[in-house]
Symmetry: C2
Subunit: 337 residues, 2 copies
DNA sequence: CTGTTAGCGCTTTCAT
DNA sequence: ATGAAAGCGCTAACAG
């Protein structure tokens, strides 16, 4: 394992000069620079990362917090962010909170021990007041999250509008009894969507009906359960808005199994535009989220904060969502138009 | 930002004693220990990670290489490995090679610059001879991969057997013209599966027929294409083995669309046991892979190597795969037995 | 049981 | 344009 000292010796120069070459500093004559580079190659030298970090007080590593990876939405977020980070010369440490405030808090120490230059929160499990003190140690950027109290940048998607256009679409198809599904995370995402859902209903003069509301639907299995709960109602809904394509797929799968035809007897709209939406029969109408753009922007903001060292400022960046109409809300022939 | 020095001063002791407390070393009297802990709490002290790494020559960080995250198989691998790592006090840096040998090689420098204690390769893009020199800088463990030349531990799944039981299942259902799909990665996984497929055919005295072989099927879209290629054959297959549930789903989706009934006219078997297998209609017969066990074992082996410092030794750990029979290979009534 | 001291490998003033 | 030297924060001989 060769060090900068070895390189300096071999090149017949000082450590300082070698360091200058490594960091592309000016004031190094061309011939010395060549000497150094040759020595580095000859020794297969690579600077020691811990030593650099200790000295320069930066690690070029960013921590990304997600509840879990095996949720397609978060997989995509991680994938996009890793690509963006790599382009900027940053590494990504993945932290799965698994919805646990303790785990989240524990991972936060990465910032305090200076193992990472910043934290991107794609999930918040603690009250902001608990997280805020960590701002003394480095930047925190919210991604796909939002908190009224948080005085930090927030890069997010316009969930209110997303739910609004999806619901409006159902209303335009003539539906008036529309069920509503969401997961019950403490995240703002779910509540923003509910706002959008209610807004669309309101425009049509329809009251939000609690008997049609299912706030514990996360996975496809939950979708199956919700389907049964819906058809058991005395006056079942004719359409259902869901907060995820998996739940939508679960509902459709169960509907198929029980001879309930989608969309004729029950229209279904999903969320996320995952691959499954094109594989189910019928294909699923859904809301597309520009996850990669959001991830890229969040990373860009993160890096800016790392450099500017001004962490405690609220900034909100919002991206629009797009409705994608498929067969699960419009009968076959019409969808092809 | 307080340092160990601050803690020492506040406690009226030396840095050494504080360090001993931090690292749970023996020979510290109970009262001094309490003094130190109190001082640490009072200052909100956390040891600086770079300084520790520089001094102790370890980072407690492991790099995990995957081609990409948004492949459900790899998502699960990352998820499982992150959990295992966290339990052992390790962080995980994610490296997406995106099937590029250059990117892979570049990420390998993490080992050389001592930014990570070891590398888990869940994907190999370079010849082993190219990777081997990095063993001078730290351990490399293969996970879900295997290389004849690699003199390092390999934790893998018995792909030969997996493909064998899946194919045998089709043969037992009476199929004799069985198509074969795989992705064409340089990975051993695909070739091992082909071995298993061929072995099953051989047992039934059937020759591998190249016209039924599709070696460029990765995603659901490829499945759709393969479906059309299959039915265009003069003597189309009655069953198809695929290397992934997505491809299987694509085939089934397209078959449904074209009035080709599964499994009656075409039996389909997938691979991975992803959620989609239970959502499609018909549900998909598939091969379950114990990804979490593999990830856990790989991490365990990695940590053992980090401690033992003996990297260049071949060890193979193999986990069995399991066939899960659903509707896509057996007509409805029978599957319920 | 506790403290003194010497670095780990690097970057960065400050001279020259 | 180049080098000498200090020190980032921590751990581990070594001495007592």
């Amino acid at each position: 394992m060769s060090t900068i000292e070895d390189v300096a010796k071999l090149a017949g120069l000082s450590r300082t000069t070698v360091s200058r070459v490594i960091n592309n500093h000016p004031y190094v004559s061309e011939d010395k620079r060549k000497l150094v580079i040759e020595a580095m190659n000859q020794l297969g030298y690579v600077p020691n990362s811990s030593a650099r970090s200790l000295r320069s007080q930066k690690t070029d590593v960013i921590a990304l917090f997600v509840p879990r990876i095996m949720n397609p939405f978060f997989s995509q977020l991680v994938e996009s962010m890793e690509i963006a980070a790599a382009e900027q010369g940053y590494q990504l440490i993945i932290c799965q909170t698994r919805y646990s405030p303790e785990k989240e808090l524990n991972y936060m120490n990465l910032l305090k021990m200076k193992q990472v230059d910043g934290v991107v929160l794609a999930s918040i499990q603690n009250d902001w007041k608990v997280l805020e003190p960590f701002l003394d140690y480095g930047p925190i950027v919210l991604c796909n999250e939002f908190d009224e109290q948080a005085n930090v940048p927030s890069v997010m998607l316009d969930q209110v509008h997303g739910a609004y256009i999806a619901t409006k679409h159902l209303l335009e198809q003539g539906h008036r009894r529309i069920a509503y599904c969401r997961g019950s995370t403490r995240s703002n995402v779910a509540s923003h969507r509910e706002l959008g859902f209610r807004k669309a209903l309101a425009e049509y003069g329809i009251e939000f009906d609690e008997q049609y509301a299912f706030r514990d639907a996360f996975h496809s299995e939950d979708g199956r359960r919700v389907f049964h709960q819906m058809i058991a109602l005395s006056n079942p809904p004719t359409a259902v808005f869901t907060g995820s394509d998996e739940v939508a797929a679960g509902i459709i799968s169960e509907a198929n199994k029980h001879g309930c035809s989608v969309p004729e007897q029950l229209a279904v709209v999903g969320f996320d535009n995952q691959e499954i939406t094109e594989l189910m029969k019928p294909t699923i109408t859904t809301v597309h989220q520009p996850v990669d753009k959001m991830a890229q922007k969040a990373l860009e903001v993160m890096i800016e904060k790392i450099h500017s060292r001004k962490y405690k400022q609220r900034e909100v960046y919002e991206f629009p969502l797009k409705l994608i109409v498929r067969e699960s809300t419009v009968s076959n022939k019409l969808a092809k138009l």
